[in-house]
Symmetry: C2
């Protein structure tokens, strides 16, 4: 048994007017609750420090950049790092990253128990669009404000296991999990902000959208025999609803915990990393079963090309 | 609307002593029922003409070869082809193929409405093992009797759509669907023979095994926005139980029909290929969203390699 007690720290809405300091105070309260529940690792959502600003169309780059962090930790976030080190809890959370040389990424970091940043991931699969789209019920401008991640899908040894990160829309892409699976990943942590309404198909409904969330996460866990911890920012931000449904899935693809609210809520589950071994050594023993000579299109072709 | 009425023709057990002719008579009865229900395409299981012989350990190659077909159609199967042409129903079924130059494959073919074979697929992901394994509750010797498929994952234009094939264990591998998705596949048809007991983990239970079946098929359908028709050979063959659970899944990953027996059973569902378009043009518009520069390990590395 190699158990990591994981806290999925779902966060309720963050309004546009909320300060970083107010958000960090909420994150610290979740961290304290996670500590009381025995957590070793806490997983917060994507863009945990701010509202989901890509829903707002902005043309002034200074207005855009105000949503980004230029250093991490910075003064507003330092109290969270201090408390995490005090509690000896490792963390994963997302934020908008502006690099010294002017690049914008949708980023997540992972710390060790001492509050040191040991891993950084930049979101690869950016959903949405670049220009204002009059045909959508709301905007989703991630492709406007962020560049695609440039770090690939690394994994890190932390807390005695092999842990990888992903962000939001990445979870719908089997490539995300597989690239980490090929590095022996035992746990994938990811945060998301997902609108309750499909801007291009309002009839879809939140039930189906929660189903797609579960399906993607469960398949990624099963097909790579790893734990997946998927954590929402949820609730209504300035009139725009995000669904909750944070969940922890075991290496059999089974949901072992799922949030029931759309607010701040902590789920803690003991995740035995040795439970990943059976799948990795039998049906998903990649070395014995994968046939890469037939997978060429996956890396040689980006878009679909129908046959003649 | 581009509707294909698809018949998932689940088959109950085939005993070792059953002749090809007896099996073909059952397949014709299912075809007749599919015709009455308006089918355009009928999908039968993997290794539809025989018992699931890879459960039997054999050393005499002549005994092995007796389970294989050296031509298709052949005299035993010709009546099925004749009836399908008469009904103007396209077919997909699996069989063990022995080529003129002595290669053994776990194969499936697809015909058009005129009974012409328009596509052949050879199973890529062979499960199981090569030598007798005393630690298993039963044998699963596909790696002994078959070579991995050498045809990749092609798709074909048939019945006004783009259709691909897979077989059994292929359905658990996201690469299977993705390679076809990159060719614009609108419907994947696949047959399976899956033991109700995990030979290496009897405690798993059939409920969990059916869950993994559904999860794999539903994720493949959703993540490539295509229909998937997955058809079992089910029931007890000479004391060995195979699960049923044949299912038809829409491009949203939702189950629209599922078998309720472990015997011969036909499900017919009208599948609108235009229902694949929304997903392919939005969230799974591969050309806009995939980032192949980060997928390299999928085709460059077969087995998992943990980090230092």
């Amino acid at each position: 048994m190699r158990v990591i007690n994981v806290a999925a720290a779902q966060m309720g809405p963050i309004q546009r007017a909320d300060s970083r300091e107010a958000v960090v105070a909420r994150m610290i309260a979740l961290l304290d609750e996670a500590k009381r529940k025995g957590a070793d690792l806490i997983v917060y959502p994507e863009l945990a420090l701010t509202t989901f600003f890509p829903r707002w169309y902005m043309e002034d780059q200074r207005e855009v950049d105000a949503w980004f962090e230029t250093t991490m930790p910075n003064a507003a976030v330092q109290p969270l790092f201090d408390r995490a080190r005090q509690h000896s809890i490792a963390m994963n959370f997302g934020y908008a990253e502006l690099t010294p040389d002017g690049h914008h990424f949708n980023t997540a970091i992972m710390t060790d128990r001492d509050g040191n940043i040991v891993g950084k991931y930049r979101k690869v699969h950016l959903p949405g669009h670049v220009e204002y789209d009059t045909e959508r019920s709301h905007q989703h401008l991630e492709k406007r404000y962020f560049e695609p991640g440039d770090l690939g899908f690394p994994v890190w040894r932390n807390l005695g296991g092999i842990i990888g990160m992903a962000i939001c829309n990445d979870r719908r892409w089997p490539e995300t999990y597989r690239v980490m699976g090929l590095q022996g990943v035992e746990m994938v942590v990811l945060g998301y902000n997902t609108p309750s309404v499909n801007a291009q198909k309002p009839a879809e409904g939140v039930t189906q959208r929660l189903f797609h969330n579960r399906l993607s996460v469960q398949a990624g866990a099963y097909q790579n025999s790893c734990w997946v911890v998927a954590v929402a920012k949820a609730g209504v931000e300035d009139g725009h609803a995000l669904f909750g449904g944070s969940l922890i899935v075991n290496p059999d693809g089974e949901i072992v915990a799922e949030a029931v609210t759309e607010g701040d809520e902590v789920l803690v589950v003991p995740c035995d990393l040795d439970a990943t071994r059976f799948g990795k050594e039998t049906i998903f023993d990649f070395a014995r079963h994968r046939r890469i000579e037939h997978y060429g299109l996956i890396t040689s072709r980006t878009g679909a090309v129908p046959p003649e």
